[in-house]
Amino acid sequence: MYDLSAVLGFDWAVTLGPGTTLCLADTDGTDPTRWVDAVLADGLRNGEAAVLVSMDRPATAALDDLGADVAPRSVCVIDCQGTERTRRTLDDGTFVYSVPDADDLTGIGIGLTACLDRLAAAGHDRGRVGFHSFGVILDRVGQQAAFKFAHVVSSRLESAGFLGAFGLEQPHSPKSRRILGEAFDRTLELRQGAQGPEGRTLGRRGDSGPWRAVPAAESDR
């Protein structure tokens, strides 16, 4: 089981089964990246592995932003700002798979496979996979392909027993969120409240629970 209570605060977040996928949907224009980073950093602190899929930041900057004390063999990065599909190892030993664009779904899939293989070889059977901004993929490939991709990646994470966190930026319509949300186990809407970060679960039919404080997303920055 995965415990995300330190990051998300909700009762249901205490025991999330292997393979659970969460959509972290920002509602007020705040970059959803920080929520994804908080989920991954929390896992790293608990000795779990992490795979970070970064759309708009190079691997090294994305790793810096992760803000955790990262052991290189615990973290892999898929960098969507490469020039072609390549694999490399940074000076500190972190594995990076690059793809030329966030619309290269096959490349991201190959990268994810390579990262999971590498983490398994390093003895990790638990970990979290974070997509910084799934909205970039949605914008690039369209709703249908993005939905199918999310569904297939979720199935793969279920087989691997990893947890998935998919950041989604604000401009995407409520309908689009509901459609994409069907590919994930839960959608959590997030915003910056007067007292700090707040979240609520998005129900079916677009109804949502009440806003409540979310503990740790802010403190990692």
């Binding site: 599909r85 290269d104 779904l105 096959t106 991201i108 899939g109 190959i110 496979t113 293989d117 490939v141 709703q143 249908q144 392909a145 939905f147 199918k148 991709f149 569904h151 297939v152 199935s155 793969r156 279920e158 087989s159 409520p174 309908k175 509901r178 459609i179 069907e182 079916r204 039919r205 677009g206 109804d207």
Partner: protein, 190 residues
């Protein structure tokens, strides 16, 4: 074979080998053969479900035929038949499976069956998306009470539940790397 059987196209320049494959497959599938890459492309249309493609052929090679298939966006699954086990990263290649020569009857059966299962998965996923989209449209246009009274909405929910189950049972829930990549490649290509 019956007209409704899945169609397998064998592209192979050695007639004896092609005939052997045909004998193994024709009880369960409609089998077409082509003696080289050009003929293979001529015979390839939307009716073909699986292509068995010899990699080394005079004229158009298997790799070139595969490139044409992908470029034209023809919706079929391709198993490359190779003389030696590929030493390249097969995930990076565009084909869906490979078979090493000499191909055995059970390996051929298993590969074709698996590729057809992947096509089934793709179709289920397509239907699943279409219904999720339809449900979201209904949810956006009706209030909760209207939805409760809506028979179409109830049927949609039921069918979506069945599809979720079918998807998780097909391909064992995508636990194999090759199946994972081939499924995504199909999303990318369409």
């Amino acid at each position: 074979m019956a007209p409704s059987d899945p169609v397998v196209l064998i592209v192979e320049d050695e007639p004896d080998v092609a005939e052997t494959y045909r004998l193994w497959l024709e009880d369960s599938y409609t089998v077409e053969t082509a003696r080289n890459g050009d003929e293979g492309l001529d015979k390839l249309d939307e009716s073909v479900d699986v292509v068995l493609l010899d990699r080394m052929m005079p004229g158009l090679s298997g790799d070139e035929v595969l490139e044409h298939i992908r470029e034209q966006g023809i919706d079929c699954r391709v198993a490359m038949v190779t003389a030696v086990e590929p030493d390249f990263d097969i995930l990076e290649m565009g084909f869906d499976a490979y078979l090493s020569k000499p191909v055995k009857s059970d390996a051929l059966d298993e590969t074709v069956e698996n590729l057809l299962e992947r096509s089934t998965y793709d179709s289920l996923l397509q239907e699943y998306y279409a219904l999720v989209e339809k449900r979201a449209t209904l949810e956006a246009s009706k209030n909760a009470a209207e939805l409760d009274d809506n028979e179409e909405y109830e049927r949609l929910k039921e069918r979506l539940g069945e599809l979720r189950e079918d998807l998780s049972e097909t391909l064992g829930g995508i636990e194999d790397d090759e199946e994972f990549i081939a499924t995504i490649r199909n999303i990318d290509d369409n």
